[in-house]
Each structure stands twice: as C-alpha cells, then as structure tokens.
Symmetry: C3
Subunit: 327 residues, 3 copies
C-alpha cells in the first residue's frame, strides 16, 4: 500500500492508525522490525518530518536512510527526455535502486508554485510511486501531506473522541510574508472530510483552494455524514477545532507578486484571541510565523494544540511505519 | 587491510567477497558486529555509495558515521604547508581523530580533472591511507572505485559463473554533456583484468585511458589468462558483457572546453540496441544520462543488468565490511 | 540537569564523568539506553563534536537525531518579534517539538563576533534552554564549549592524576588567519579553574578574554585552591600543560579588520619547540592550523596530547550522555 494522500487507508484505517499512535504515545511497545530499512528522500527542508521519520524508524528497530538529492546526492530528472542538461540521475533509476536498498521509500517534494497544471500532476511523488517496487510514503508533495493529516486526525481523536462525524472544524487562511503551497490546507480538508467532519474553509476572496480538490472533499465528506462549506470571513461559529494556514490562491497561481500586494491588505486575517471560540482547539502544522499567522496569545495559550499536534507526528509516523513494515 | 583499488584482496579474495554478497542477497544472515563503527567521509555527492554503505553497516549491527567536509565539517588540507589559507583542518588530524572514533574509515573524493599528475597521485585517499590507523576503504577516488568493481564482479559471477577467466567484456566510452573522471572505467578495466577476463576497451581516438593503468591491467590480465585490447569503434563482437561509461581522455586532461567541442561530434557513440550482441548483458554504474550514454530501449530492456548491478552495491558493501570488521 | 558550561555538574561531578570516560576508554561496557533519543542541532559545522555525539549515542543503544537548521531544516528566530522576515521557525516551537521527539537536546551555535553584549547573552543556547522541556547540552556556544572542557579534564586526569588542584596549566593565545570566537579559551579557563588548577592565561596586549569571565574563573579557582594570572609573553615557566588557541580580543570585539592587521605582527606567538617546557603536554582542541598556531614539530612530537584529547571527546560524550539518559 502506498500512502500518497492518506485515503488509501480508508476512513477506518486512518482511525485505527491514529488510535494506535495514541497507544504508542501512552507507552505501548512498538512491534520491532529489525533488518528493515526506510529510504527518505528530501527535495525540500524539514524539521518535524525528517526527525519524526528517523525517530519512528529507530523505535521500530528499523534503519532510516536519509537522502537529499542535489545536495548530498544527484539532482533528479523526471521527464522522458534526452538527459543532456543539469540533471544527472533519472527518477527511474533512483526509485529502482532505492527499492532494492529499502523496504519503504518516502519522498518530500514541494510544489513549484509556477504552473498549476504541473503541480496538479504532483510530478515528483507520482514519479517515485510509478517507478518504485516498494510502498511509497508522501512526506509532503505539491498537493498533499498525509503524515500531517494522520497526526492531525490523532489530535482530533484525542480531544473529540474517535467518532469524528459531524464535528465542526474550520480551516482558515492566514497572512504570511511569502506565497505558500496548498499541500497542508488540501490535506486538512481531505483528512477532515474523510472522517465525515463538518468542514468550513474560510479565506479571503481570491484565495480559494483548487476547486477539483474542494469538490473531491465535498463528496467524501457527504459520504461520511459531514459536509464542506466555504466562507470569506473569519466567523468561526461553534467550531471545535480551528486550523490556521497560509496558502496561495489557486486562481492566482504563480502570480506571486500580484498576490503579495493583495496579501498586504489582509493583515486582519491573523488569528487573534477574540476570534477563537471558547471551546475550540487551535492547530497549525508548524513552522508558524508568530504575530503574522497567529497572535502569540493564541499560540502559547491554553487552547493551543500546536505542540501536541507536532508531537503526534512522531507517534503517527511510528504507527504508520509499524503497519507498512509488517506488510 | 586497506581497500583502495580492490587488488589488495587478490583475485580469489574478490571472488570470495562477490560470492558471499550473492549469498547475503539470497538471504544469508550477515555476521553481527555490534559496537563497531564505520566513518564515511564524502567530499563529493553520492546516492548509491552512501546509502549502500549506511545500509550495510546497519545490517551488520555496526554504526555508520557520515561526514561531509566543507559542508557539515571543516575543509581539509592535504599538503605540508603553513595553513594560513581557507582550509581549517589537516588530513593528519582528521584521519587521526576518525581512526579513534571508528573501526573502518571510508573516503570519497573525485578527481580534480585539472592536473593529470596530481590526480595520478590520488591525493585525498592516499593522504587518508597514510594517516589513518584503521583500515581505509575507497568510496571512489580520482583513480579508482573498488566498491563498484566488487559489485560489478558479483554481477559477472551471477551471470557468467565464478570462473571469469577469458570471459569477453567490452568497456565502451559513451557521450556525456560533461567531461567526467576515469575512476569508474579504470576500475572496470582493473577488476576485469584481475579476474583474467578478455577485456576490450572501445573509445574514440583522443579518449584513451591513462596508459600506465592500461599497461598495469594488461599484465594483470595476462597473469590471469586473459588480455586487454583497445579499439576505436563500437564493434562489440561476441561480448558477454558491455559496460558503458563516459570519461575524459587522458591526453586531453584538463582541456575540458576543447574536449567538449570534440565530444559534440561523437553522439553516434551512444549505446543503441543494434550495437548490443544478442547474448550480452548491459551495465552502467549509474547515474546515467538516458538518451545520451545509452538508448532507453537498452537501459530498460531485458538485457540490462543495470538495476541488479546497483542493487549489488548493497550486498557487496555488506560482504566487504563483514570481512573488514572481523579483522 | 542542563550542561551549558559544565559547572552545573560541580568539580566533583566533572571528575566523576572524566574518570568514567577513562574507564569506558579502557573497555568498560556503557549502560544501554534503548529507546532513548538525542536531538543534536548544528547551526555551525563540526567534525569531532557531531561524530563523537553520534558515536556515543550508538554505543549507548540510543538514537542520534541530527538537525542542521537553515540547511536541511528551517532557519530559526530567537526574538519576540512579528515574524515577517526570513526566519521561518521560532526557537519556542523548535525546542518544544524536539523536546517531544528526544530525551536530550544538544545545540551548537557559534558567536556572531559582531556585538559583544549579544554574544555575552549566548542567545541561541539560552533560548533552547529556556524553551526545552528536556535537558540541554551545549555543543559549543558563543561563550562555552563544555564537552571540550570535559574531554580536556579527562586528558588532564589521565596524565596528572585525579587531584588537579594546583597543577600548572598555561592557556596561550596563538596566531590564526581569521578572528575566532573565545568559547574554547573561555572553557579551558573555566574547566581548569573549576578543578582548582593554577592557570596562566598568556596573550598579547589587546587580546584579553572577557574580564567578567576572567573574574568568574579567578574566584572559582581560588575556591578550589588554585588561581588565575595573566601575562603578555610566552614564558611558560614550569607548566605541566600548555593549551594553545587563537581568539579575538574582547576589547576589539567585532573590529575584525583592525585586529587582522594587529595579528599580522604576532607571528612570533606560534608555539614552537623551544617554548615548550620539557615536562609539559601540548593540547589544542582541533581543527588546528599547522605552522600558524603551532609548529608541526610540537604537534606531531612526543609531548603532543592533541590526538588523545580529541579521542577523549568520544569517551566523555559517552560518559556524559550515559549519566544524562539515566536521569
């Protein structure tokens, strides 16, 4: 089984992994997989993802192999071209070789944020999935971040119980000095929809998510007894969870400069204490810009689940790899 | 025992390591060496070499320590000079310290490709070998790549049996957008000669290997019942193995621009399906430029041993370290 | 217990750790701490420190997690600011997350060497110590290098016995092509003073250490039965140990160019054989500029303890982590 957007495991499978993660957090002993190896390829920087994957491997008695192409390995070519340019290695060989060296292949490759259609194809993770002969884990791609989605689900289960159907969650856009990919908000939307939650996406006009992804999440949520709605203000209503994240609007894709000007007028979208419902938990995937995305009073306050959410990255990486290495 | 060009182990020793690698590949349990450490110093990028060495250590219960001087460690001085320049650490201290931290010291340092006589001295690996007090493994130097040679030998043994004397192998030059070092072709030539194979080196005029190395391989092959010949076309005859690789001509050493112009006229040296004898396996050390060095039809075709060859990097690293850590 | 300048362990605690390191070096089996993790954050390059910490973890059955912010992780913000600049992650979150992933958090962050008052606050290590919820180890900060101090103490104990009170040690300034931080000389001074040694700091006028640190060391040495004196020549008297190191003068802090001109006239401060008392051991923390800081005849001669000192980095890292992971 690949783990490319998290839906491969199904709603129940994700719940099982989330609950197992909470057991491991509570002290359960992970199943040991000595002699197994996980190759983790990083095309982009990472603190939580790399560290949690390495630590999860260690806890399972498996060995992590970290590769950073273009830095300590070769730059990768994805296309079927005559390779007379800068890229020294084709993903066919990289995936084919690493599949012989490891039992699971994990890849991190952000969106280019230039060409929407190219990012929609999610080229790097798709190429590894196409050419690997072992299961592939997405450690954040142009479109998805299912390890984050699994950690978020474990956090929701911990606070809201393991029947998440109809629970109210708001995913809100927030300001940021740079234009950012939508992998995390896409994933929050998808993971919440998969569990049948009642999801509201709040963003300024012009910052909509990819309509194909919103449509997919809407039908997924409906099938689970929930729903997806969009609004253009930060009235969080009776939300039980508020997840903040900045992202680039899909319609303005690639027009980063125009968007930056637009964004400068949106400082009032910072999540401040007055906006947060009294009963809601506050989440963000980290790293977070203090004072820009969210006020320090929220981030450091009693309603913040942010550090727990990051901590759950370790326990969910462990529960996922425990299951994948047993295959 | 150092492992600097592979001949230290002798023809029989290399065969023993190659056959042990195939046993490990077939499921034999490697001898465990808990508490042992291998320090691996990378002056150049690596995918297969680093990953296979790390994985081999893990499989043996030993710990890999990866060091990349000039990036996450200090730049190294090799010469006996007053150190008032950019280099912060002398190889005497680096080798002396790492010899206390690890049981085997592995080093990767490519040719400078500017000064033939300097590269002939193989300065970095030679300096580590001179100053280390533990065995030193060459993970590709200016002149040699014996881990590749061992993996290639295991691949030959797997397909051709363990008496390689007189087996026909062609090492062919191939086009490439950049001027490349000769460590890999030197090693293929040396490793094949060590086993007494019948080696043909095929390259355009002006792209000859170092005549000292050809002479050494010729006498080594003769001693083993084989031979070395050179030709300037790609008639592969009845070759059982064709190994492709681009390299810089020794006589044009360092004149990269002139060579680039020359190379532009040699696109017809790409290995295409029509050139490959029906019985021959195709090999390349990777990374490979698709459509430049070799046609995709060959690389992805049934005669390609390329992925097996790369996979054998793991098993041969394991058999070599298994033996070295037992010393 | 944090380990920020080494004095947290007390004079007796440091001696206990140093003696345990010498036992481990002699073959004692380290206590195993399976399932424990040490996160090691490197803001600056390192050979000995990273490698010895990784190897020490491995020997203890613990897992090292190496993070290099700004390279394979995010650049860190330390101040309470609105984060609309280049830095993507605040140390609050980095320390908070890593405290959940690891049992000990180790940090390396050199002095900026621009603003003396800022470096005096030792901002990065202080920020991690403030925000971590697990013990923090200083792997060299703006002010201190207690792992080096512990390895030096083990080296002193090995040669001079475990009652170091009144033993004569000279810390001498030495030339260097670049202006360097004072963390190592500060630490040598502090570690020797903590053991009640008789410390002489020898340096040219204008290259004094931070007077606050000299005052602190003076009272610490006096309490232990030793003392601290300063001189402006290289008469090493009857020193039993001579430690060489270049550093930037505190009064000239940040005026690197002026200091470089000044330094050009101080080539005669190189440690040469004629200066070294016949009974004294020579020490340097490495990396060392041969022929600039010290003559090769001293560095490679029979009185040099330099490689032993570096080797002790492994055994002292092991004794320290063995104790910290048992907490």
């Amino acid at each position: 089984m690949n783990f490319l957007d998290g839906t491969e495991a199904g709603a129940d499978g994700i719940l099982t992994l989330a609950k197992r993660a909470l057991e491991l957090r509570a002290g359960a002993t992970p199943t040991q997989h000595p002699g197994k190896r996980v190759a983790a390829v990083f095309l982009n920087p990472s603190l939580r993802t790399r560290t949690s994957m390495e630590a999860a491997c260690g806890a399972l008695g498996a060995q992590p192999l970290v590769i950073t192409p273009g830095k300590d390995a070769w730059a990768l070519e994805l296309e079927d071209v005559v390779m007379d340019g800068d890229k020294a290695e084709h993903v066919r060989e990289a995936a084919g070789v690493l599949s012989q060296f490891a039992d699971v292949l994990a890849v991190r490759a952000f969106a280019g944020l230039v060409d929407a259609e190219e990012d929609r194809r999610d080229p790097m993770i798709s190429a590894f999935a196409a050419h690997a002969s072992v299961p592939v884990v997405n450690m954040e791609s142009a479109l998805w971040h299912p390890l984050q989605g699994l950690a978020d689900t474990a956090t929701w289960v911990n606070h809201l119980g393991d029947d998440l159907r109809g629970k109210k969650i708001v995913l809100t856009w927030a300001p940021h000095p740079r234009a950012l990919p939508a992998a995390v908000p896409n994933q929050v939307l998808l993971s919440a929809a998969l569990q049948g939650m009642d999801v509201t996406v709040a963003h300024p006009e012009g910052f909509e998510l990819d309509p194909q992804i919103v449509a997919r999440a809407t039908s997924l949520a409906a099938a689970g007894g929930g729903g997806v709605s969009v609004r253009h203000d930060q009235d969080f209503g009776e939300a039980e969870v508020v997840v903040a994240k900045s992202w680039s609007g899909f319609s303005g894709y690639g027009r980063r400069e125009a968007e930056a000007a637009h964004r400068a007028e949106l400082g009032h979208w910072t999540v401040t204490p007055d906006k947060l419902p009294a009963s809601a938990g506050f989440m963000h995937c980290l790293p977070v810009r203090r004072g820009v995305v969210v006020a320090p009073e929220v981030l450091d306050g009693p309603q913040s689940w942010v550090l727990e959410e990051a901590g759950n990255r370790l326990w969910t990486a462990m529960s996922l790899l425990e299951a994948m290495l047993a295959e």
